[in-house]
């Protein structure tokens, strides 16, 4: 899970989930605590989905 996906592609990651921002990839300080956790939950769900998806090449899970 990373914000700058081209870098992840460069270093060879196979399942990539884009995140919010470099200093807070899985959060957003502009939101309330509850909203933020919902956002994080949503992002980690994407990661779980990525883990359950067969891939043959580097894939970004938007």
């Amino acid at each position: 899970m990373c914000t700058v996906t081209p870098i992840s592609l460069t270093v060879g990651a196979n399942r990539i989930v884009p995140t919010v921002a470099i200093p807070h990839p899985l959060g957003n300080p502009a939101l309330t605590h509850e909203e933020e956790k919902t956002l994080r939950r949503h992002l980690v769900e994407k990661a779980l989905k990525a883990l359950q998806t067969e891939v043959t090449e580097q894939t970004i899970f938007e």
Partner: protein, 127 residues
Amino acid sequence: MRDFIIVTNNRQVSDRYERIYPVEYYEVTYMQTLLLVRDRVHLGHALLTHPLAGSIKPNETPFKSVMISRSKGETDPGSVQLIEESIETYNKFKNKKFPNMSLRMRDDYAQIDLSLLENALGSAVEK
């Protein structure tokens, strides 16, 4: 309003431009200026000028002015890479020499930094 901010630690730059353009002046070192810019880039501002503008080695000059976008968007990968590489480059130059620099030299370096920025402003404002 034009879509840029000048981040600088150079008084000559803020004196010259703060009435016309958005200028953020900080009384910090060259490196700290780069770090301030990095933090902004991490939050989605795009770099508009090269952080290593000028072939003056980063251990030579105390001054640095960088233009970033005023608006914030998705993190710009190119900007992230450029600022990080610039910070790494800064780190490989040892013997930082500006702590005891003569006033005349400081003035020269400030002047060069200003000139490099003027060049960039020429490109930014012409449009």
